[in-house]
Structures are given as C-alpha cells and as structure tokens.
C-alpha cells in the first residue's frame, strides 16, 4: 500500500512538471500492450515527439519484450524475475516500486513487425549512440525498411564514425539509399551504376525494386510508356486466356461467357421441360447447350458468346507489354545495366554454390558408404545393418552429449567412442552371424536385415521414438560465407574434412600397413592368401569391425547436421548401396567416385527442377539402374581374377 502511495506521489509530482511517460502510455494502453504494425506508429510518434529523455530506453525495452503490464491497474513496468513472482521497476526512474505475484503482471510481447517499426523509430536516437551495438541495430533497421528520410541523418553520421566495420556498413547503406532516393537524377544514376559491381541480395533488391513492372494493354503502346518489353498473346509468358482477361479487365473487350454461365442461363430459362424449343433432355452436350444459348441470347438479349474469331481479332488489334512503374527511362536503363552485370556474377557464384553443396553431399554419401564398400569388397557380403551402425554411432554421440555438457569436449569424446562401440558391434556380428554364412551372400544379406530391424526396434525401445538432439559445438555453428550467393555451413565443411581424413586413413591402412596388405590379399584371392599364412577369418573380422566403426563415425557426423532417430539409418542405406554399386566394389577410389557421381547428379537434377526434390531422387535412381547396364562392375572395376569372385 505504501508503495502505491509513493507511486501516486511520484506520478502526481511529475504530472505537475510535464506529462510523464506513464501518462503518455496510459492515454492508449491497448496500443502499447497489444500493438499492431499498422497502428503502433501513432503511439511512437507521440512518444518521440514528447522529447522525454527516458523514451529511447523505454522503446528499446519494449522492443526487447522487457516491459510488463500490471493486470489490476494497467500500469507499465520493467520487471525482473524473483522466485515465484517479479520485482517491478518504474519506467521513468528505474527505481524498484513493488512486487507482483505469478499471474498479476503480463509480459508485453510485440510481434516482429511492431519490433521493426519500433526499431525505425529508434534510428534517430541510435545512429550516433556511443554503443556500437545500438548503432548496428539502427543500421539493420534502415536496411530492413529503407526510407528517404534516413538518407540525410545517415550521411551526417558517417564522418564521425570511428568503428571501421560500422563505417563501411554505413557507407554501403548510404550508396543504396542514394540509388533509391537521391533527388538529383545524375547523382542517382551514378549511384545505380555503382551497384553493378555489388552482388549482395540487398543491392539486387534495390535494383529490382526500381525495375518493378506490370503488364499493360492498350490499342497501341503510348509514346511516353517506359516499356520493359513487348508481349505476344499465346506465348508462355502471356497465355491467350490471360491476355483476353487483361482486355476484359481494361474494358477493351466483351467478357467470355463461361460454360457455367451458359448452364445457369439455360436453367433459368427452363419452361415446361423445354429451353426455347429444345427439350431439356437434349441438353446433355456442350454443342447442344451452345445452340440453345445462342437462340436464348438472341431472344432475351443476353450477352452473346464470344467466338474464337472475335477473340482472335481482339487480341490482334491490341498491344500487350510489360511496362516499368518507374517513369524515367534513364533510371531504368541504368538499373538494367547494373543488374545485368550483377546477374552474370551471381550466375557464376550460384554454380559454385551448387558445386559446393554437391561436394558436401558426396562427402556425406562417401562417409556413409565407405564402411559398406570395404566389407563388401573383402567378404562379398552386403551388410543391411550398416544403416543401423550409423544410427548407433549417432546415439552414442547423443548419450555422450547428455553426460558431457561441453559440446566441444563431448564431440571429441564421441567420435572415438562411436568408433569403438560400432567396431565392437561389427566384430560381434561378424563372429556370431556372418562367419557362419560364408559363401552364401544372399543369406547374409537377409540375416543382416533381420539384425537391422531388431536393432532399429531396440533403439526405439531404449531412446523412444522422438528425435534426439545432437548439437554441434559453437565453433561449427554458422557458415563460411563468401558473399550472399556462395556459402556453406561449417558443419558441412567439417564433414568434408572428416571424409577426406578417412579417405587418407583408409588409403594409408590399405597401402602402407601389414593389415592392409593382408586385406588386399584376401580381397584378391582368399584361398591363396590363406595358404600364405594369412588368417582370412581374422582379416574378415578386422575389416568388418573397421567398416562398422567408420559407420559409427559417419553416424555422429550425420546426426550433427541432420537428425538422430532410430530410422536415420534406413534413410541412407539404399543410397549407400547405390554408391558402392556405382563406384565399384572393394575399392576406396571406387566409392569416392560413386559418391561424387551420385552427389553431383542429385544436386544437378535438383538445380534444374528446384520445386520437386522427390523427382530428383527418382531420376537419380533410374540413372543408376541405366548406368549399371553399361558398367555392371561400377566406375572403378577390379581387374583380373578378383573381378570374377
């Protein structure tokens, strides 16, 4: 109670001097507590015009969802959570003025649109603020919603700017605003010309805005029209129906009588089971209906049907064109030139971007498939549970992350641990199942499928069916950005590096170590290898473990960039098979070639048909089936005796 009294005094006292912030807000509290982008401007103007010193701070806090409203009296406060309730602070003085229980006050949550408008209102306060963060916020607000009135204050602030990065940003924004809003025509055209070397989305947005155009129609193109290009009815850009509809809209032609209108007119004219002199039962075809309607139209003065010839004539006697909204031809021409030069470079970067994506996808496929390729090559068996080893690796990563909260450390731990876990699982599976199915590859395929469905369900029973979070450390967040077109996520680069590492490691093991020598011997001729003292069983076990272990590591990598679910393995298994088959069996380079081909192909098809990713996958598989016809042994086929095995 005492607080309230005190508050009342404060309020009265300030009211005596001038209107307080609280009073201003209370004039229309609904506009503050439940603001809309379209209406909030009024309140903002009042606040800014009031000149009260606390207004900028209030606006910032309002924007940051830090203003609260008390339910009982509708007053606004800043608040801080404190146990069950909140401590309230006055919005003018910032002094503590009381406490509130859990449901006594309500946080005011302006939506993003409103926050943007508040941001614009804050520009004039923030543009020269000593805090660089605020200055950046102001620049972001200008970029979000460029307006002519920002040009002068922005220019004025450049000279005093000390922070180099912000200064660069300010200069860039000044160029953009100048290109859009400069009054002096020559200066504006010059500014537009400068944008030609700029391929940022922002700059192209400015140019495209200048080049906004709309379809127009008239008997002939007027002399003062700023014509973008002419259009011919019947082209893909302007189908005949659309062209005619434009004529109708412009009042230059009579509207078409649709079949539904014909029907409705006929229904309305039914008398004694007849329309005119035609029996209703006869009107079951379009032709009959048209005849009946034409008669009816003559009799009752209904709008006549537009014939094909009339439509043709109307289209022929008018000109259709795309006309710029901007009337000044000099400006649109400058913008066109600038945009054309930007677009060429955008095209190049776009190609590079798709290529990067393709490499990234290829490295993911490579990681997922290489383990499979090794086991397939050495033992001639397809491991259907390979996908589940990927899943196991991912879940290992998840478990490690729940135990070790530091993301970097947990990743460092998870990678070897995933390898160990899946290596062990692979060895166990080889000893218990696969060894007993030697020389029966089809049975092995099916037995491992049995293991695969069992493992998948066990994972579900342990971890539940929800996707589990596997979060990459902060230094892998974000993307390596060359410019607005070309960029790739760090996590994908990391996966690429990982794939390269394993490529190198495997090549090293196979070419430079005793184990690798033995593996190659067994791959090429198991019988001969055995007679030279190599234990094929041990080699099989080791390769199987190695292949599975790499799957586990691939699991961690895939989990980091996509998801961890019990079914993630089955998403990759068929692709992995395809990779192995296309690449050629038992050869690291083959798998690399297969993964690259599939990755590049998929991205390529996606690029040409961006609205349907499913189609891309379908075509890719069809391509692979066709490809196998020509190279049944894959891209990198083994030569000699091994090929017959």
């Amino acid at each position: 109670m005492r607080f309230l009294l005190a508050l009342a005094f404060v309020l009265l006292g300030s009211a005596a001097m001038a209107q307080s912030l609280q009073d201003l807000l209370q004039a229309d509290p609904e506009a503050v507590s439940n603001p809309s982008r379209r209406t909030v401007g009024e309140v903002l103007d009042q606040l800014v015009d009031s000149g009260l010193p606390e207004v900028p701070q209030f606006l910032e806090r309002w924007q940051g969802k830090e203003v609260w409203q008390r339910a009982s009296d509708g007053l606004f406060f800043y608040a801080e959570e404190d146990g069950e309730g909140h401590v309230l602070y006055d919005i003018t003085s910032g002094e503590e003025v009381g406490r509130a229980g859990p449901r006594d006050i309500k946080a005011i949550k302006p939506n993003a649109g409103v926050r943007g408008v508040i941001g614009s209102a804050l520009i004039e306060f923030q543009l020269t603020d000593p805090d660089p963060v605020r200055r950046q916020a102001a620049l972001a607000a200008i970029a979000d919603d460029p307006a002519p009135e920002h040009l002068e204050p922005l220019r004025a602030s450049i000279a005093a700017e000390e922070e180099p990065s912000i200064r660069v940003r300010k200069e860039r924004l000044e160029r953009l605003l100048s290109a859009s809003f400069e009054d002096d025509r020559e200066a504006r055209i010059a500014a537009i010309g400068d944008l030609g070397s700029d391929i940022t989305v922002e700059a192209r947005a400015v140019l495209n805005r200048m080049l906004a155009s709309e379809p127009q129609v008239a008997a002939s193109v007027p002399a003062d029209a700023n014509l973008a290009h002419a259009m011919t009815p019947g082209s893909a850009e302007l189908p005949r129906e659309a062209a005619y509809a434009m004529l109708v809209d412009a009042g230059l032609a009579a509207p078409l009588v649709t079949d539904n209108e014909v029907r409705d007119a006929l229904v309305a004219a039914i008398q004694d089971g007849k329309v005119g002199d035609m029996a209703v039962a006869m009107l079951g075809t379009d032709e009959a209906r048209h005849v009946a309607y034409d008669a009816l139209a003559l009799r009752d003065g209904l709008p006549p049907r537009v014939t094909e010839a009339e439509m043709e004539a109307a289209l022929d006697s008018h000109a259709f064109w795309q006309g710029y909204v901007e009337p000044d031809q000099g400006i649109t021409q400058a913008a066109e030139r600038a945009l054309a030069s930007a677009e060429t470079r955008v095209g190049v970067y776009k190609t590079a971007d798709v290529a990067l994506d393709a490499v990234s996808l290829a490295s993911i496929y490579f990681l997922a498939a290489i383990g499979l390729a090794i086991t397939f090559g050495v033992m001639g068996v397809i491991n259907m549970a390979h996908g589940e080893f990927i899943m196991m690796g991912a879940y290992t990563g998840y478990v490690v992350q729940t135990l070790v909260p530091d993301y970097t450390l947990s990743l460092i731990l998870a990678l070897p641990l995933a390898f160990i876990v899946t290596f062990a699982a692979g060895v166990v599976m080889e000893r218990l199942v696969i060894r007993h199915l030697a020389h029966r590859p089809l049975e092995t395929l099916l037995a491992t499928f049995g293991i695969s469905i069992a493992l998948q369900q066990i994972a579900k029973n342990i971890f539940g069916t929800q996707a589990r979070p596997l979060t990459s450390p902060a230094w892998l967040d974000g993307a390596w950005v060359v410019n607005d077109v070309l960029g790739i996520a760090y996590i994908r680069i990391a996966i690429f590096v990982l794939a390269l590492l394993f490529l190198g490691l495997l090549l090293f093991i196979l070419k430079r170590t005793r184990l690798g020598l033995e593996v190659r011997a067994v791959t090429q001729n198991p019988g001969m290898a055995a007679s030279m003292g190599i234990d094929p069983d041990r080699i099989a076990m080791m390769t199987f473990g190695l292949g599975s272990g790499i799957a586990g590591i691939a699991g961690v990598a895939i989990g980091l960039y996509a998801k961890v679910t019990s079914e993630m393995g089955s998403d990759y298994i068929v692709q992995s098979f395809m990779t192995v088959v296309v690449g050629g069996v038992g050869n690291v380079w083959g798998t690399l070639a297969g993964a690259s081909l599939i990755g590049i192909l998929q991205k390529g098809i996606e690029w040409f048909n961006p609205s349907n990713t499913l189609a891309a996958q379908t075509y890719m598989i069809l391509f692979i089936i066709a490809f196998i016809q020509f190279r049944p042994r894959g891209i990198v086929a083994m030569k000699g005796r091994a090929a017959g095995a």
């Binding site: 949550k109 495209n208 994506d357 929800q466 979070p469 960039y561 998801k563 609205s611």
Partner: protein, 427 residues
C-alpha cells in the same frame, strides 16, 4: 501338413473366440488407434499416453455412466491399410464405443470407409487440410482457416510480407494447404510469381540447396516469408540448415504449421529464436487450466522434461466433450452421442471455450508463437475463437460446399444446386 492346419486352427480359435464374446454395457470401451511403431510413432505415441492419462483421470472421477472406462490400445504401426483393419477390429471384435486416433491424413482416409460402413465414432486430433466432414468423425484439430489463413494474415498485416516461399513435405496436407494459401494470397493481391513452392520427401535431410534458393528470393527487393508445412523429423535438418546459413527471423521469418514443442525438443533452438509457429495451443500458455494439465501430464509420464503440444490439447478437448455428450445422451450409442456432441462446450487450455459446430469442427483460438531459446514458444498473438470451416472458401470447387449435420444432415452440401453431393466422404 498337420502342422499347418493345427497352427491355423489355433490362431482361428484365439481370434474367433474374442470375436464371439458377448459384450455388456460395462465397461465402456475406448479404442486408441495410434501408431506405436513405424515412422509416425514419433508423434503418435505421445497421444496414446495422453489418452491413457485422460481415461485414468476420468476413472478416478468415478468413470462414466457408472462404468469404468477401459482403453483398448492397438498399434497400426504407421501402416495405412492396417489402420482400416485395426479400426474394423476395434469396432466389430472389441466393440469399442468410440475411437480416438489417427494422425496423418492418409490414415484418416483409410479408416473413414470402415467408420462409415459400421457407423463408428472417431475423434481426430490433428490439424489437417480440411475438405472433409464425415458423419462419423469429429475433427478436434484445426482446419486451414484456423491455422494457415490466420498465419498468412499475420504475415501480410503485421510483417508486411509480399513474397512467399511455401515449403512442404510432399503429401496431401501441404499440397492442399498450399493450394488454399495460393488462392488466398491471390485474392489478397499477391501475384503467382511471388509464390515459390517446393515439395520434399518425408525425412529429407539435405536442405542446403533449398535454403539457399529461398534465401535468393529476397533479391527481388520484396520482404520474403517462409510458410513451412514440412512434416516430422525433416524439420530438424531444415532448422539446422536455417541456423547454419544464418537466416534470422528478422530477415526472413519461417512460420511452421507442423512444428511444435515435441519437434523442437530434438533441436538446439538458440539460433532459431524468433521464427514462428501457428497452432491453437502452446505449452507456454499462461492459464490455470494449462498449468494443471501440464502437471498432470508430468505426473503421469513421470518425466518433468516432457512437453505438451497442440494435438494433445485436441484430445483433451475431444475426450471431455465426448464424456459430456455421453452423459447428456445417457448412452454410448453412436447416433445419440453424435447428436449430443454438437453444441458441447469445453474450456480450452489457452483460455476461452471450444464449441462443437454442426460441421463436426471446433471453434479454436489461433495462436502465433515465436521460438524461444528454451525450445518453447512466446505467444505473440492470440485471436478470438475462429469457427472451423470444413470446406474452404478460397478454392472455387469447395467454396460452394457446406457441411451441417444438424439441419442439412449432410457433410457435402452444394449450396449452388441445393443438393447433398454424397452422404459418405471422399476417401
């Protein structure tokens, strides 16, 4: 050969016996038809648990009509034909009085003919594409006008967005919703070329190219908004890619219709703060009813970290409505309950009241939430209750259709010709 006939005979006996068993009025049986295995288990298992919790609560209150309620849980295993088979089994063998179940549209379409043939009763708890009103189904999730259209209005009015990217998983809900949205946007003056549409397969994980394509849309100089009907765990990869490419909600907001608290629990949301979702319920809704519901859920499931979501609220409302209707009708007989259902009122967990309309849809408030760093949603907009519209007004073929099971007794009534197109539903 004896082995064959023996085992078949044994199976026959096992299944036949249950089929022939006589049924008494007590206990009242409630069928729960949610996938507990397969791809949809991720979403549907939670709903099964919700139903078991609600039934347990009701039994603790003394049951219904003096009977205990007995849940009959079956697992259609995300296998759509199995939904029809299990529904038939529930209705004819277990003789349940009502079914709560299904998630995907295709599973609902699979069950529909069986329900209509056997005059069963089902409550369907998920937001869906509309264009349907069956005599035997009550739709407790949102129709497009209760989720998609208000979200687009928010984009148009509040964020001033004039260019749209509609991203969806390739199946009927995104397809139909996007068709409706495209028609709606056109009616609001957005030209067709400013609407980019992309469909991806279920479980898509490689989003790099699609996200860059969407990013490039902004080059036209118009503010771009993304409307996502991406389903299930494909969202995880999508949001990770959004975060990696640094697309902030200020540059290019994403509003999702299939992403709730459950999906966010598989993600680190710190880089996604500010992106949007539209639902009729958020766990963060600050009402006493919601607090009680969340407490009960945590106590039931024994895990404080489990979240609640929109379809769970739909089941909560549906089940309570059904209980009220049964009490009012004094029987669990389907026709009586169906008649009593219309006009039933149950308080929403987010405030306000849900009313069952004659078209078997609910009135629902539309909430728009911004993702927070904690994996929850900040509710930034909440409308009054919007009545669900079975047939959208924005597609010409369905604008003339109307559903009214009270006066017209038809779920597909053509207002132009004043005839009932069909009494059963389109499957």
């Amino acid at each position: 050969m004896t082995k064959t006939s023996l085992s078949i005979a044994a199976l026959l006996a096992a299944l036949g016996a249950t089929g022939a068993a006589a049924q008494d009025a007590c206990p009242i049986k409630v069928g729960v038809l949610h996938s507990l295995s397969g791809t949809m288990a991720i979403s549907e298992t939670t709903l099964k648990d919700t139903m078991l919790m609600l039934i347990e609560q009701q039994n603790a209150k003394g049951g219904l009509l003096g009977c205990q309620i007995e849940p009959v849980v079956v697992d259609p295993a995300s296998d759509w034909p199995l939904f029809a088979e299990k529904a038939r089994e529930l209705l004819t063998v277990n003789e349940v009085d009502v079914i709560f179940g299904a998630w995907t549209s295709v599973s609902r379409k699979s069950v529909l003919p069986v329900l209509e043939e056997l005059n069963g009763l089902m409550f369907y708890p998920v937001q869906y594409e509309g264009e349907e009103s069956s005599k035997n189904v009550f739709y407790t999730g949102a129709a497009p006008n209760q989720q998609a259209i208000p979200a687009v209005d928010y984009y148009l009015d509040e964020l001033g967005i004039t260019k749209f990217a509609l991203l969806g998983t390739d199946y009927v809900y995104p397809r139909t919703t996007n068709n409706i949205l495209a028609a709606y946007l056109e009616s609001k003056g957005i030209p067709e070329e400013d609407i980019f549409v992309n469909y991806t397969p279920f479980g898509q994980s490689d989003w790099a190219t699609i996200v860059s394509d969407v990013k490039a849309l902004a080059a036209d100089g118009e503010p771009v908004g993304v409307i996502s009907t991406i389903n299930g765990d494909a969202n995880i990869g999508f949001y990770k890619e959004l975060a990696a490419q640094g697309i902030s909600a200020d540059d290019m907001p994403v509003v999702a219709f299939s992403v709730g608290e459950e999906e966010l629990s598989g993600l680190d949301t710190t880089n996604l703060v500010g992106h949007l979702a539209a639902w009729n319920y958020f766990m963060s809704a600050d009402t006493p009813e919601n607090a009680a519901f969340i407490d009960a859920w945590h106590a039931y499931i024994g895990d404080e970290s489990r979240v609640t979501n929109d379809p769970m609220e739909a089941h909560y409302i549906g089940f309570n409505m059904w209980v009220q209707a049964v009490e009012q009708a004094g029987t669990t007989e389907v026709d009586a309950v169906t008649a009593a259902m219309i006009g039933q009122e149950v308080p929403n967990l987010t405030g306000g009241t849900a009313v069952m309309l004659p078209n078997h849809h609910l009135t629902k408030p539309v909430l728009i939430g911004e993702i927070t760093a904690e994996g929850q949603f900040d509710i930034i907009s909440q409308t009054e209750e919007v009545p669900g519209d079975a047939w959208t007004d924005f597609l010409p073929e369905s604008a003339v259709l109307e559903a009214d099971w009270q006066k017209l007794n038809c779920g597909m009534f053509n207002t132009e010709t004043q005839t009932c197109v069909q009494l059963t539903s389109n499957y």
